[in-house]
Assembly symmetry: C2
Homo-oligomer: 231 residues x 2
DNA sequence: TCGTTAATATCGTTG
DNA sequence: CAACGATGTTAACGA
């Protein structure tokens, strides 16, 4: 890992062409050769970058560049594609290098898979008498999150999202169209279940006869065995 | 901008709960208070982060943490939500601070907007005799990228993507449903135009009577006046 | 501010 | 390897 703070201009060409006018920025060169160029604000996305596999070469600037104050030209070339980053370094304010070693990586909790697991266990949240048929019920265009039966024995297909948006309703609609061709399941009702359902998604769902259910993750997890949690 | 290289463990809680076991990493603290935690590989996405507005507070570790070798506890708290990052710092290897100043930002060329611009200029790529009605043709659910007429005077709605995936077909389908309610336009045919069209998207589009057109950006740009390019 | 759409998206999982 | 869905997506652009 090498961290450089420098006044520089950057040109990228590859899937698109982009240019960063001269300014002071952070250049992060990782062990795998990848380069990130950060400014002093915004979110985690760099202004520009080159991902591995790639190689950094330092060369002398040509005369035109030297007249603009450029002292070094860094060229980062992707080894598989023709993506290329050219960094014109004007002045280096700081240059630090350090071995970081291997990183054990991130452990996560609280994603959609967990919601699905909890709803499968607590399927009565959809209504009294509901029973689980199976999770990830397969169809020709992909698995439905949950297939269940209501108290009257009718089929219920459930699409689960953390945030319910219009795409999720479209997805469930495609599943329902397919499932309703199966004489053993027909008629299949749809349930759109999410921690949060956007107004537009709710309107579309209800317009198509799909029921919306808002899930309370904390409450569902509270019902769940406390020992099974990661932290 | 402050760059710290330190051995540390990190816990995040907010929209999810996540934990980073102890290892040596880069901590980037930006002028707006945001914090990024990077390791020595992967892509531009940090292992963990906190975005502005947030505040960093340094405190003494409790006894349990001190026994694990923690020398400082950094707490980064989001000021609007209850997102929180806790960094247990064990050892600091490097700590650099530098004023970066304002960044003029990135200038881009070659994104979807340019594809749309070029296709509007070269509308005959859809077939001889096609004429442009307008770009960004407004509908109740958002603007259609391009509305055109074919040689017979029939309406053609075009959705443009760099990469054509299933979502784009759904999007165009929604537009077509609406446009076909307009007696002045009806019947409206659909064209899905992209630099690259995924097989599933093509199958869905053609199943719905939508024509797929693959665009060659470089060729289209080559036809375009070379002077109009940014770089 | 909210909502929608694009992105050099990135990232994990699956076939 | 390709394709698909989720992401603490982020970022840009309008209404």
């Amino acid at each position: 890992m090498r961290l450089v703070i420098a006044h520089c201009a950057v040109r990228y060409s590859g899937r698109l062409v982009a240019y960063l006018p001269p300014a002071t920025r952070v250049l992060m060169i990782k062990a795998d050769g990848s380069v990130l160029i950060h400014n002093d604000g915004g979110s985690y996305k760099p202004l520009n970058w080159m991902m591995a596999p790639c190689q950094l070469a330092v060369s002398e600037p040509d005369e035109g560049a030297r007249e603009r104050g450029v002292t070094e030209l860094w060229t980062v070339q992707n080894q598989k594609t023709d993506d290329r980053l050219e960094i014109e370094v004007v002045e280096v304010f700081s240059d630090v290098q350090q071995e970081l070693g291997h990183d054990p990586g991130l452990v996560k909790d609280g994603v959609e898979a967990h919601l699905q697991e909890l709803l499968a266990e607590q399927i009565a949240l959809l209504g009294n008498g509901h029973t689980l048929v199976r999770r990830e019920y397969p169809t020709a265009i992909g698995p439905v999150d949950i297939l269940a039966r209501d108290s009257a024995g009718g089929s219920v297909a459930v699409e689960i999202k953390r945030r319910g948006e219009i795409d999720g309703v479209e997805q469930l609609t495609r599943y329902l169209e397919l499932l309703n061709r199966d004489p053993l399941l027909r008629p299949v009702r749809g349930v759109f279940a999410a921690q949060e359902i956007k107004p537009q998604a709710r309107v579309l769902a209800e317009d198509r006869g799909i029921r919306c259910v808002v899930l309370d993750y904390d409450a569902m997890r509270g019902v769940d065995d406390a020992d099974s949690r990661l932290f």
